[in-house]
């Protein structure tokens, strides 16, 4: 078995390598510097000691420091900022959606905003309604910003490197409940291109499409289904916006069936766009309607048993696959 590391380590490597490679890369966010512990999850541990003033802890001012990242990016730096948890993007949406995402277009291409917004989220730790949401759909619906969502340590490394190198703003969404899961170590220095999905596993009966947390669940269910004679093709989107429709459609054209799985609530989520596009492109080829598996349409509840009921289950994925085969 190859070297195993976790996502925290992978992200730390990516930031470290990016800062070493390009002095324009700067980091800021709450608690990021070593004096403040190197990040609440230690993702940035050691970096301020190594890179000095290029790594800064900020006041609790998401609007202020997100806007500062926009300005710094316009001036040619490559800021990588951290919004501690995804729900807090709600206090600084304006800088992200009205500014970062639009300045290239509104300036007619004279300026651009090569910044990365790292943020974390996910249910499972009973952090309840204001600390668990997946809100990627908001940003996918915002032209001018890319949305990247890795599902394992190696992808976290390669996608973060590519995001930092990208000439446009990237929202980089990490699933923190799996931060400590070990996975294959990345090859340092190698980026994974944005906008390209990864076919994780080939199969012939149905295409399972996921990203971030759902890539922890899909392979488990696929294995079970495999044993029952159902051959699953698995696609990890990696970049959620813009969508890699070529990879998706090539697969679904072959299997004739698709199930999309995400942790975000179902209604008006990313699954809807993927479903709509597949139907639009492969209406005649589909053997069954595209299925969506997602969380319940409610805020994330606190109590463990409720939190579990909120999130889709493996049984939900399996049932969806079976519906496509019926």
């Amino acid at each position: 078995m190859s070297e195993q590391i976790n996502t925290i380590q992978a992200l730390n490597w990516a930031l470290d390598d990016a800062m070493a490679a390009d002095t324009n890369v700067v980091l800021f966010g709450e608690e990021l510097a070593d004096g403040e512990g190197g990040g609440v999850m230690k993702v940035t541990a050691g970096l301020s000691t190594k890179y000095g003033a290029r790594v800064r802890s900020t006041p609790i001012s998401e609007m202020g420091f997100t806007g500062a990242a926009v300005g710094a990016a316009v001036a040619g730096l490559r800021p990588v900022i951290e919004i501690m948890l995804m729900n807090f993007v709600a206090v600084c949406m304006d800088q992200i959606t009205n500014h970062a995402a639009k300045l290239r277009f509104m300036s007619g291409g004279q300026t651009h905003v090569p910044m990365v917004i790292r943020t974390m989220t996910g249910s499972g730790f009973q952090t309840a309604g204001q600390h668990s949401d997946f809100l990627e759909a908001w940003f996918c619906h915002t032209p001018g910003i890319k949305v990247v969502m890795p599902s394992n340590p190696a992808d976290a490394y390669g996608l973060l490197r590519a995001s930092i190198d990208d000439e446009d703003p990237v929202l980089f969404i990490e699933h923190f409940p799996s931060y400590w899961n070990p996975g294959e170590a990345p090859k340092r220095g190698v980026s994974i291109p944005l906008g390209k999905a990864r076919r994780v596993q080939a199969g012939s009966d149905v295409t399972l499409i996921g990203y971030s947390r759902s890539m922890l669940d899909i392979p488990v269910v696929a294995k079970k289904l495999e044993a029952a004679g159902v051959s699953c093709e698995i696609i990890d989107l990696r970049t959620v916006s813009p969508l890699d429709m070529e990879t998706i459609l090539t697969s679904v054209k072959k299997t004739g069936r698709a199930v999309v799985v995400h942790e975000a609530v179902r209604s008006f989520g990313v699954g809807a766009e993927i479903s709509a596009r597949i139907h639009e492109s492969l209406f005649r080829e589909l053997k069954a309607p595209v299925e969506r598996v997602a969380s319940q349409d409610c805020p994330v509840p606190f109590a463990k048993q409720l939190e579990t009921a909120f999130l889709y289950s493996h049984a939900d994925i399996e049932a969806a696959v079976r519906r496509t085969l019926a």
Partner: protein, 326 residues
């Protein structure tokens, strides 16, 4: 310290609240360590006397808005401990049926209207509660609590300005424990005394030793009196410390040892007890009785919680909207 104390009965009421808060906090942490409770828990050990001293001046008709670090505020305000315990334990008898958890405990009957996990967000909401009272000609006041770090976020500014312009009966209570997560006051906050920021809004700012319940009592009395009589808002900054880090599990490495030791030696809890008895406000026997009563009440609350049934998973379908299906 303890200058111009109120009558002994009031002093003892304050002590009783402090005892209740401390015992509950100790017990929550013990239950977490024993694996009986799981959650992100932000202990307020060290900050007890602030809400204890303020709350003896309030009735259930007065409104409270507090934050994730707020169980001390809730208990002081009168939220029944058993409802909090059942909430933390995810029971159907919990204040919020286990749907909110520690960061969102709500109990309108005792005036605990909103508890938020988003830094700063409670302040505008407090303005709205105060506006309702003002428009209805009610004399109730709204206390809205937050930390030192929260004084750097936009919502603080907008709220104090709005409250001043509309002369709202709201009291902004900054419990300055010198740290915002791992960030010291000096690193995130550009001014020494947060109470001085009141000047920007043409309202009174009071700086008070939060370890002195008598001083807090007097500061609150002035502010509450002003609010009740139509004089508008006040900003109170109470200096304090939190002994158990940002949340349980935080080793507190970012706190200089000497600072921590000084804070512990200034722990208001034992100091106040000593003063009460040395000054003859209460006999040792009386104080022992208070402690025994509160310990017994705590046991009853814990028993109530764990004897109650877990909230049923179907609850996630309820309370999203008024007319949600059961």
């Amino acid at each position: 310290m303890y200058v111009d104390p109120p009558d002994s009965a009031t002093l003892l009421s304050i002590y009783r609240k402090m005892v209740q808060i401390k015992l509950n906090d100790d017990r929550i942490i013990a239950m977490m360590k024993a694996g009986k409770l799981q959650m992100p828990y932000y202990s307020a050990r060290g900050q007890e006397c602030i809400p204890a001293a303020i709350s003896v001046l309030l009735t259930h008709a007065d409104y409270l808005v507090t934050i994730y670090r707020g169980i001390h505020d809730m208990l002081a305000k009168g939220v029944p401990a058993k409802l909090i315990w059942a909430e933390l334990a995810g029971r159907s008898t919990g204040a919020c049926k286990g749907k909110g958890g520690p960061m969102h405990v709500t109990h309108p009957e005792s005036g605990c209207m909103v508890t938020t996990g988003v830094v700063g967000a409670g302040m505008p909401i407090g303005c709205g509660l105060a506006l309702a009272a003002q428009l209805r000609g009610e004399s109730r006041v709204t206390m809205t609590n937050f930390g030192d770090g929260a004084s750097n976020i936009g919502a603080f500014h907008e709220s104090l300005n709005l409250a001043s312009v509309w002369k709202l009966p709201v009291i902004f209570v900054c419990q300055n424990n010198r740290y915002a997560e791992h960030t010291s006051l000096a690193k995130g906050t550009s001014i020494e005394r947060i109470s001085d920021r009141a000047r920007s809004y043409n309202i009174p700012g009071i700086h008070v030793d939060g370890n002195d319940p008598v001083a807090v009592y007097h500061a609150a009395k002035v502010a509450i009196g002003r609010a009740r009589s139509g004089g508008g808002p006040t900003l109170i900054e109470a200096m304090t410390f939190r002994f158990n880090g940002h949340l349980i599990g935080d080793p507190g490495e970012y706190i200089p040892k000497a600072e921590y030791a000084a804070a512990v030696s200034a722990d208001p809890y034992p100091k106040y007890r000593e003063w009460l008895s040395s000054q003859g406000h209460a006999s040792a026997a009386q104080l022992d009785a208070v402690e025994a009563e509160e310990a017994a009440a705590l046991e009853a609350a814990v028993k109530f919680a764990f004897d109650s049934p877990l909230t049923d998973a179907s609850e996630i379908k309820r309370d999203v909207f008024a007319d949600a299906a059961a």
